[in-house]
């Protein structure tokens, strides 16, 4: 039988964690043990997830590629498919196709300082890389994470932020927009670019991964460039709408690149050559 590239693998839901008022993370495992055994991916890749009866939706695989027993994804309730995913419980079955797309060049980044900058729901696609780097701690220099959200209630994976902070040579800075803090808030107040500036990180031989709303990315770039990072050292992951994930449906291109096949990870240097189509 020839492979039907649109037919997903069936996945058992192992765990659902509500992260915020409208964000959940889900842990899933392959039903088919043979498929589970052969499956591998690289951090930064994405999958297409099915709620049967409702449709498919695209999310980054936000677990580390070192975790072999399951994969995780995280989503915000925004439409019919994510509404349906919101209802799933432990033991339910969903569909998964992937892994698709390119990945973070974790090998290229070895020996360098890593700066992770995330805004709001953009934490999951950074989380996989942070875990991967922490699990290979010797291979990387200082790790800085600046994670901002609108309010304290919008921060996802809060418990893991604490866990990361325990690691050596690791700085975790969390911030909320002005007004989004609570009386007992111990993090920073302000937007990611300002907080990054204030943190006055010694960026030596650093690479940065910046994911978040376009406005955050735009305002962060000048700060990184003041810190001495070249355009080829700044990476992001694009969030284009996708349907097929395999370069067929014609939906995800940004100028000449198909984000599903040639992305979603691009350096700023690569982005500079793309037309204003994102």
């Amino acid at each position: 039988m020839v492979m039907n590239i649109y037919k997903p693998d069936l996945m058992k839901v192992l765990q659902v964690r509500q992260q915020t008022g409208d964000v959940k993370s889900v842990r899933i495992a392959f039903e088919d043990p043979a498929r589970a055994a052969e499956f591998s991916f690289r951090v930064g890749q994405f999958g297409i997830f099915s709620a049967f009866g409702y449709g498919e939706s695209t999310f980054n695989i936000c677990s580390s590629s070192n975790w072999k027993d399951y994969i995780e994804f995280c989503f915000r309730k925004t439409g019919a498919v994510t509404e349906a995913l919101w209802q799933i419980e432990e033991g339910d079955t969903i569909g998964f196709r992937g892994p698709y797309g390119n990945s973070y060049p974790m090998e290229e980044w070895e020996g360098r300082d890593l700066i992770f900058l995330g805004g709001g729901i953009a934490m999951p696609p950074i989380r996989c890389a942070i875990w991967y780097a922490l699990e290979n701690r010797d291979k990387y220099g200082h790790i800085t994470v600046v994670y901002g959200a609108r309010t304290t209630r919008d921060l996802v994976f809060q418990d893991e932020l604490d866990e990361w902070a325990q690691h050596e040579r690791t700085t975790i800075i969390r911030c909320v927009d002005p007004g989004g803090e609570t009386p007992d808030w111990k993090g920073e107040i302000g937007f990611v670019p300002n907080v990054l500036k204030k943190a006055a990180i010694q960026a030596r031989n650093a690479v940065a991964l910046v994911i978040g709303p376009p406005i955050m990315i735009k305002n962060t770039l000048p700060v990184l460039s003041d810190m001495g990072l070249a355009e080829r050292d700044i990476y992001t992951s694009l969030e284009n709408r996708m349907k097929c994930g395999v370069g067929k449906c014609g939906r995800c291109n940004c100028g000449p690149v198909y984000v599903c096949k040639e992305g979603p990870v691009f350096s700023l240097e690569q982005m500079k050559h793309l037309p204003n189509d994102f």
């Binding site: 449709g55 079955t93 709408r241 370069g247 291109n253 189509d277």
Partner: protein
């Protein structure tokens, strides 16, 4: 030497194929005026004349407007998947226009780019394409501007040339074509002719130069703002292949469907965050032109257009490839003109 066949033999062949369980698609009248490609039930539904060309394309014989990708059954927490039934009947696309057949080798690229699309490929391997060389053309045809022509052989297994009096010269290009006409042809000295084809009106080099530099040109806004985003151009285009994937569920069972979509739709690129990189119609029109004349060639070496003219033939507001590319050419000519005029002016001053 040539090989010929009579129209009645052709029509008998069509009836025999249908009788044998093969599927035959070809042009025919729907009502009194509209000519469309569709599956035929009898040979008398077939229109064996070369003019005018159908308003749709043959792509739906290989890439149907909607099809099942697989089935699922929901039983509590358990899901069962089963494959959609793939077609297994031989199919013959008969009396297609060369600009339709030419789309198939072009579409082969995208449907096999790393991941092979089994639905398209299965139908493709079951299909034999017999084209009818064009004797005539209308104001929308522009095959000769995009590397095609009235007897373009790309994608054809065999081609018919009308000789008059219900006689046709048959040229077989592939084994599939030869097998189809095996034992049916008479030797002859008569050789079919084709019309001259539409006058060449577009210069793709000029267009490409513009596309290289003018993604942000005001021309897009000026020329394409009137597009109403109906998608008719895309659905009737032999090479447009964008699709959507959706679910249809009744009770506890459902199918995952794929159906035609178009980059002209407002929702086509909306991100989960609500951000839309192409929030305005001219940006969507620009995408269509870039995809066909810049992006696809950069990936697969061939433009995503065969010059059939259906886009402008069906567009309710007079857009389509030719009107837009013509505007681009005029813009380039005006620039060259201004450039030349400035040069001339400078020379005068210098003297």
């Amino acid at each position: 030497m040539s090989t010929i066949i009579g129209g009645q033999v052709l029509r008998d062949m069509v009836n025999d194929w249908i009788g044998d369980g093969k599927r035959v698609g070809g042009p025919g009248y729907v009502g009194n005026h509209l000519i469309l490609y569709r599956w035929l039930h009898r040979s008398d539904e077939l229109l064996l004349e070369s003019y005018p060309r159908p308003h749709n394309s043959i792509k739906e014989f290989l890439f149907p407007s909607h099809e099942k990708l697989y089935h699922y059954k929901i039983d509590g927490q358990h899901i069962e998947l089963s494959e959609a039934v793939l077609p297994d009947a031989q199919q013959i696309i008969f009396a297609a226009r060369p600009c339709d057949a030419a789309s198939l080798p072009i579409l082969d690229h995208v449907f096999n780019w790393d991941y092979r699309d089994v639905f398209y490929n299965r139908r493709r391997s079951l299909t034999t394409v017999v084209t009818l060389a064009c004797q005539d053309h209308d104001a929308h045809c522009f095959c000769t501007s995009v590397g095609g022509g009235p007897d373009d052989e790309r994608g054809s297994d065999a081609m018919l040339f009308a000789l008059g009096q219900d006689q046709y010269e048959v040229r077989c290009f592939t084994d599939k074509g030869k097998a189809l006409f095996e034992g049916k042809l008479e030797e002859s000295t008569r050789v079919g002719k084709v019309g001259p084809g539409p006058e060449r009106r577009l210069d793709l080099e000029t267009v490409r130069e513009f596309l290289k530099t003018d993604f942000e040109s005001p021309l897009w806004e000026r020329q394409t703002l009137r597009c109403i985003g109906c998608g008719a151009c895309a659905y009737n285009c032999p090479t447009c292949h964008c699709f959507d994937i959706t679910d249809e569920k009744v009770g506890s069972a459902g199918v995952r469907m794929r159906s035609w979509d178009s980059c002209q739709m407002a929702m086509f690129t909306v991100h989960a965050s609500g951000h839309n990189p192409r929030s305005r119609q001219p940006q969507r029109q620009r995408q269509r032109i870039y995809h066909k004349f810049e992006i696809y060639p950069s990936k697969f070496g061939e433009i995503l257009c065969t010059g059939c003219g259906n886009c402008s033939r069906v567009c309710p507001v007079g857009l389509g490839i030719t009107p837009v590319l013509t505007a681009i050419q005029e813009e380039q000519a005006a620039r060259a003109g201004t450039g030349a005029a400035q040069e001339a002016g400078r020379e005068k001053v210098d003297q």
